[in-house]
């Protein structure tokens, strides 16, 4: 089903980080400026309030100019700009990819089977087109005739061509890919303008990005906090006027006069308190999360699916290709009746020389690796007749001068031994039973020398080879609270053996598509979220039912329609990474929210004494940072508030470091870094900025 997965590194590795190129900042500046338009900004209420505040202070600075007023005003505008920049940078990374994709679909011509030529954009659902070597496939569809090698690098970035053929699970082709050889007939399965590439472009550009459920919930919390702080600051004014009137002899400052707290300082206080840090970075985090998936060649059809991936409780994984290598492989030679292992290996290798199945190749390789037996070229050996495998004989073999070797299913080979005068011992039967019992496939090897009765040499133990590192990966999953379930067509006994070896939590043996669907429904009934991968048409119902359904790009159109993600690499193991990216997305949001809120503590210690120490000198005790002056304190808080956004853009794009672990240790770690860090960092930052701004004349 899947080809390129054998060599994929599957050792446990945390989600890799994306990077931030400084050039991106510069390139995104025009977009960031364009986003100052309130009609765009209203979707981000926190930043909209900052902008309204900035407009207000601008007016104040114009009518009553001062150095303090202008610097504050500039930094308030910068705060909004930095927020826009974060979003623009995140979007910019998708734009480049979209441009490449657009090239792929330019000026394509479709050659209909009836001979007409039309532009690809006019293709309708159900049209049948012919594509020959060197041409670009004009739209998404299924191959209904022929076989061809196709270069899909325009979409997957993978330069090795893939085979597409009519019928079966490898019939789907994507518009914009190039046929390298042969000729295929394709029935178009897309509506105009809704091709896979169109959807990809829309996705990576974030054109119609919708807020995900968690994002909405978080926005509500941020809105509530914003309202609270607005109230807290606005209602302060009558109290400030009262206090100032009480201490009428106290000198006026930049922050407070007889009319109460000055407009500039009031706005500064609001901006410092409302959760600007997370408000500024929230959409960038979401876009970057999708982008991280795109970088791993996974297309999520909705942000909701990415978020759901973080919530997954149960992973359904196909055995073949995901948990085990594609095919069974020879793992051991078990000789019988005093035969040496080397003899058995030699005979087994000889009998497999002409066997081009993966199983056959693995026998040759095992003999070479374990016993140093070099394989001889079948063509170079004289007087040799190879006996091919047939469904009737259920064995294959080789006839050498004076020697016949047979290899195959136990019952068939035993029968052959008896027919040729041999008497197989109990031992061979016992080994065969043992191998079957552990989920392996036994192949019996027997030989007959001229004039002697045939005898069994031993058993080749074929088994499913679990990919390296899978057990660790599943242990990791368990620590994250995710159950892994292996889906296989094997009988329960074999399935159990492999499940035990791989370390999955459960298995579904002799699985039919209906079984899968039922299993998913059962899990969901219990309140669990299920993720699965699939590629065949018969996987479609299960993919649609699963909360996260990852369709392989090699799969059928039906599967791709049904899933909510498509993996362009067609690597089922990637499901695990998708889960990690989903979690990382949520953690980044939570961590920056915590950071944003805990930041406020230090800001209070800067601004409250700055506002009121002139009236009540005792409040200067709260000026624990010993900031230079009321003006410098307020300015430092505003500047810190703006700079912290820029400082955190890389983190927002990259996501916080995620190492698979249980909830308790994750919380402890993130709380320590972003909670405690959020308390401490601004104390240091504001003090440092204050050390600089105190030299500005007039502050």
């Amino acid at each position: 089903m899947t080809t390129p997965t054998l060599e994929k590194p599957t050792t446990p590795s945390p989600v890799r980080a994306g990077t931030l190129d400084p050039h991106q900042l510069r390139h995104s500046l025009p977009q960031a400026l364009a986003k100052l338009d309130p009609r765009t900004l209203w979707r981000n209420p926190v930043m909209l309030i900052v902008e309204v505040g900035a407009v207000f202070t601008t007016v104040l600075a114009v009518t009553d100019p001062s150095v303090f007023a202008w610097i504050i005003t500039v930094w308030l505008w910068l705060t909004v700009l930095f927020a826009n920049l974060a979003e623009a940078v995140a979007e910019g990374r998708g734009k480049a990819q979209a441009a490449t994709l657009r090239q792929a679909k330019q000026d394509m011509t479709a050659y209909l089977r009836d001979g007409r030529e039309i532009p690809a954009t006019q293709l309708k659902l159900g049209d049948v087109v012919v594509v020959e070597a060197g041409q670009i496939i004009p739209g998404d569809g299924d191959v209904i005739e022929g076989i061809a090698s196709v270069d899909e690098s325009a979409i997957t970035g993978e330069s090795a061509p893939v085979i597409r053929e009519s019928g079966g699970d490898r019939s789907a082709v994507t518009g914009g890919t190039r046929v390298l050889s042969d000729r295929i007939v394709v029935r178009i399965t897309q509506k105009p303008g809704e091709s896979f590439v169109d959807r990809m472009i829309a996705l990576v550009e974030g054109a119609n990005r919708q807020k995900t459920p968690n994002e909405i919930a978080l926005n509500i919390l941020l809105a509530a906090l914003t309202i609270i702080f607005l109230l807290s600051v606005v209602t302060l004014q009558p109290l400030a006027i009262f206090s100032k009137a009480f201490q009428a002899a106290a000198p006026d400052t930049v922050a407070l006069d007889a009319n109460g707290v000055t407009g500039i300082v009031l706005v500064s206080l609001i901006v410092c308190l409302i959760p600007t840090t997370i408000g500024a970075l929230l959409s960038a985090i979401g876009i970057a999360g999708m982008d991280r998936l795109v970088q791993r060649n996974v297309l999520a059809m909705s942000g909701r699916a990415v978020e759901a991936a973080g919530d997954v409780n149960t992973l359904l994984l196909d055995k073949t290709g995901t948990i085990t290598l594609g095919n069974r492989q020879a793992a051991e030679f078990v000789p019988v009746d005093g035969v040496t292992a080397a003899t058995l290996a030699e005979a087994a290798q000889l009998s497999s020389l002409a066997d081009e199945t993966p199983e056959g190749r693995s026998v040759v390789v095992l003999a070479k690796n374990d016993f140093g037996l070099r394989e001889s070229e079948p063509g170079l050996m004289p007087n040799v007749t190879f006996v091919p495998f047939t469904a009737q004989t259920r064995m294959s073999g080789v006839d050498l001068p004076g020697r016949q070797i047979r290899k195959g299913a136990a019952s068939a080979v035993m029968k052959w031994v008896r027919q040729n005068g041999g008497h197989p011992t109990e031992e061979a039967g016992e080994i065969v039973d043992t191998v079957s019992g552990t989920g392996g496939t036994p192949l019996v090897v027997a030989e007959q020398l001229d004039g002697q009765p045939a005898r069994a040499l031993g058993v080749i133990h074929l088994k499913d080879v679990v990919k390296a590192g899978m057990r660790e990966r599943f242990d990791e999953m368990r620590r994250m609270g995710i159950r892994t379930v292996m889906i296989t067509g094997d009988n329960p006994r074999t399935a159990k053996a492999i499940a035990d070896e791989a370390g999955v939590d459960d298995f579904l043996a002799e699985a039919t598509p209906e079984d899968k669907l039922a299993y998913i429904r059962r899990e969901q009934e219990g309140g669990r979220l299920v993720a699965m991968t699939g590629d065949g048409t018969n996987d479609a119902p299960a993919l649609a039912q699963a909360d996260v359904g990852v369709a392989m790009n090699t799969g059928t159109s039906a599967a791709k329609e049904a899933g909510n993600m498509v993996d362009l690499d067609s690597d089922p193991t990637k499901l695990i990474e998708i889960v990690e990216i989903g979690k990382q997305l949520l953690i980044t949001r939570g961590a920056l929210t915590t950071f944003s809120i805990t930041n406020d503590i230090a800001k209070y210690f800067a601004i409250i004494p700055a506002m009121f120490a002139a009236v009540y000198p005792g409040l200067d005790t709260l000026n624990v940072m010993r900031l230079h002056s009321p003006g410098s304190a307020i300015l430092s808080a505003v500047i810190f508030n703006a700079l912290v956004i820029v400082a955190l853009i890389p983190l927002a794009l990259r996501g916080v470091r995620y190492t698979p672990a249980g909830a308790s240790s994750l919380l402890r770690r993130n709380l320590l870094i972003y909670g405690l860090g959020g308390v401490i960092a601004p104390f240091l930052g504001i003090k440092l900025i204050d050390l600089l701004v105190q030299f500005i004349p007039g502050i």
């Binding site: 909405i216 009558p238 109290l239 206090s243 939570g590 209070y604 909830a663």
Partner: protein, 548 residues
């Protein structure tokens, strides 16, 4: 030393009753068998005791019952001179009747009047004391409904308000009240229907010694975290609080139900440890607050306290500083609001503690029922932030905290701070702060305290401010009304939303909500959010005063 002993024995007593009393409460609210009296009540009011209510119906029942209560009490107060046992007192003016009716129905018991010179015995007994019982039951019922929301699986209903109200009143409040009223009488509290006697004192002057049903009202005042005293000076009056040991019992009664409700929560959701976690949050905040208040008062800064050796102004010599300070902290940590000393006379920072206690949202342990639901809302907000940090859609007890839940929890969280801040600002903006005795920071504290107390349904007064004016009666009445019923409607909406959900099974990836880390985080969220909201206002009041 005696002061610490007082606090420690209180803690031990509460620990001792947590399980048995909590289990008893649990059986009361989840039992299905009715006794004769209850069946009679249901028949009388026409309630089908088996009809489960959706959150909307439950909320409408609460609101309807409370509306009728307010109207009834208002009429009662306006007509008291026409009724028996009025002791010759005049009917209350409209604004005061409104304020008082709202105050007692909302479990606030803010008293803009002086009890012994305003209220006849019948009003005290049949009007105010009745509301002391039922308003407490309403609070517990709403909390229980919320917990049912957490415990339910795909259910549309939350139980029946009328059944909850009846059972809690008859099986919990009444029996405990009767027992302790007798104990109080034995301690020397007054309990009669006398209009009082005039006696000639040794110096030859005439003194009026009041009588009345004090003990019976006193007990439910504490047990139901109501706080409305029979006398103007509340529990500082020897007839309301004769001795140190009655002082101890009063505090025990105040804390009894609020601290036992987490047990009900744990039992109902089937995980006692969740109850312990909530109780732990309450206990940490409460113990810290009591210790701070006592500490600030005992070592009180200020010229006078240092001159005389102790901050005794406004405190009863019978109780001394620690017992007074402990009372002040506990009465404001719960939504009781009865007092045995005068918070206005506390040291600046010591007097800030009761204010902060109320600003916490009355959650440590809070009013009966209201404390539990308030804290669960804070826990929901904590779960949301913490849940994101562990990389999952946040869930609390298997219930997802999504957009709808956050909308409700955030609105809940907004209401009381909004009422406090807007009310205080309005008082200053309209010049109504002028009725405060003081100017400067202390005058600011007096106004801030009044709105904090009313909006959080506490009812204690800082004193030092005349609040029986039409503006104050109306404004504080509104603050009490909105501060009680908006949150209740939201809590029930949340309960409805949670009840409809299925339960996500727990796994290693689920945020554990019973461990110290989470307990600490809820404490942190509660304190930080309050600090961030009220710090500017406090800075101009008690902090400015205390640091000068």
């Amino acid at each position: 030393m005696a002061g610490w002993l007082f606090v420690i024995t209180l803690v031990l007593a509460l620990v001792a009753v947590y399980k048995p009393f909590g289990d008893y409460l649990y059986r009361v609210v989840s039992g299905t068998r009715d006794n004769v009296v209850e069946r009679g009540v249901y028949r009388l009011v026409g309630v089908d005791r088996n009809a489960a209510q959706t959150w909307g119906v439950y909320a409408r029942s609460v609101l309807a019952f409370s509306a009728v209560s307010i109207l009834f009490l208002y009429a009662f107060l306006r007509l008291q001179d026409k009724l028996w046992l009025s002791l010759g007192f005049d009917p209350l003016p409209g604004h005061l009747a409104w304020n008082t009716a709202v105050s007692f129905t909302t479990n606030t018991n803010w008293q803009a009047y002086s009890g012994e010179s305003t209220m006849g015995h019948l009003v005290q007994m049949a009007g105010l004391a009745v509301q002391n019982f039922v308003s407490a039951s309403v609070g517990i019922a709403v909390a229980v409904a919320l917990v049912r929301g957490f415990a339910a699986r795909k259910s549309a209903t939350l139980g029946n308000f009328w059944v909850d109200l009846t059972r809690i009143t008859l099986r919990v409040l009444l029996p405990v009240a009767v027992v302790f009223a007798v104990i109080f009488m034995a301690a020397g509290m007054v309990q009669n229907l006398s209009g009082g006697v005039d006696v000639t004192t040794l110096t030859g002057a005439t003194q009026h010694i009041t009588g009345g049903p004090v003990a019976s009202q006193e007990v439910i005042k504490e047990l139901g975290t109501n706080g409305g005293g029979f006398y103007n000076v509340n529990a500082a009056h020897p007839f309301e609080n004769p001795a140190t040991w009655t002082n101890w019992i009063q505090l025990f009664l105040i804390l009894l139900i609020p601290f036992s409700l987490p047990r009900v929560f744990g039992r109902m959701v089937g995980q006692n440890r969740q109850g312990y976690a909530i109780a732990a949050v309450m206990a940490i905040l409460a113990v810290a607050s009591v210790a701070l208040t006592i500490g600030l008062e005992v070592h009180g800064a200020g010229t006078v306290p240092q001159a005389v050796g102790a901050a005794m102004e406004g405190k009863e010599t019978r109780f001394g500083i620690p017992n007074s300070a402990a009372y002040a902290a506990i009465t404001t940590l719960t939504s009781t609001g009865s007092v045995n000393s005068f918070h206005d006379s506390y040291t600046a920072l010591g007097g800030m503690m009761p204010m902060i206690n109320m600003m916490l949202g009355e959650v440590a342990p809070g009013g009966v029922g209201a404390g539990l639901y308030g804290l669960l809302i804070l826990a929901v907000i904590t779960v949301f932030v913490a849940g994101l940090m562990v990389g999952r859609t946040p869930e609390y007890l298997g219930k997802k905290i999504g957009a709808r839940e956050m909308k409700i929890a955030s609105s809940y969280f907004l209401i009381t701070p909004a009422l406090v801040l807007i009310g205080t600002a309005a008082a200053f903006a309209t010049g109504n702060n002028a009725t405060a005795l003081n100017v400067g920071p202390h005058g600011l504290s007096e106004v801030l305290y009044a709105f904090t107390s009313a909006s959080n349904n506490n009812g204690s007064a800082f004193a030092g401010i005349t609040v029986n004016t039409p503006w104050w009666d109306t404004a504080l009445g509104l603050a009490m009304l909105l501060g009680r019923f908006l949150p209740i409607v939201l809590v029930l909406a949340l309960a409805g939303s949670l009840a409809r959900q299925k339960v996500t099974p727990e796994s290693e990836g689920t945020l554990p909500t019973h461990q110290p880390l989470f307990v600490g985080m809820v404490v942190g969220v509660t304190v930080v959010l309050v600090a961030l909201t009220f710090l500017p206002a406090l800075a101009l009041g008690p902090i400015a005063e205390g640091l000068s």
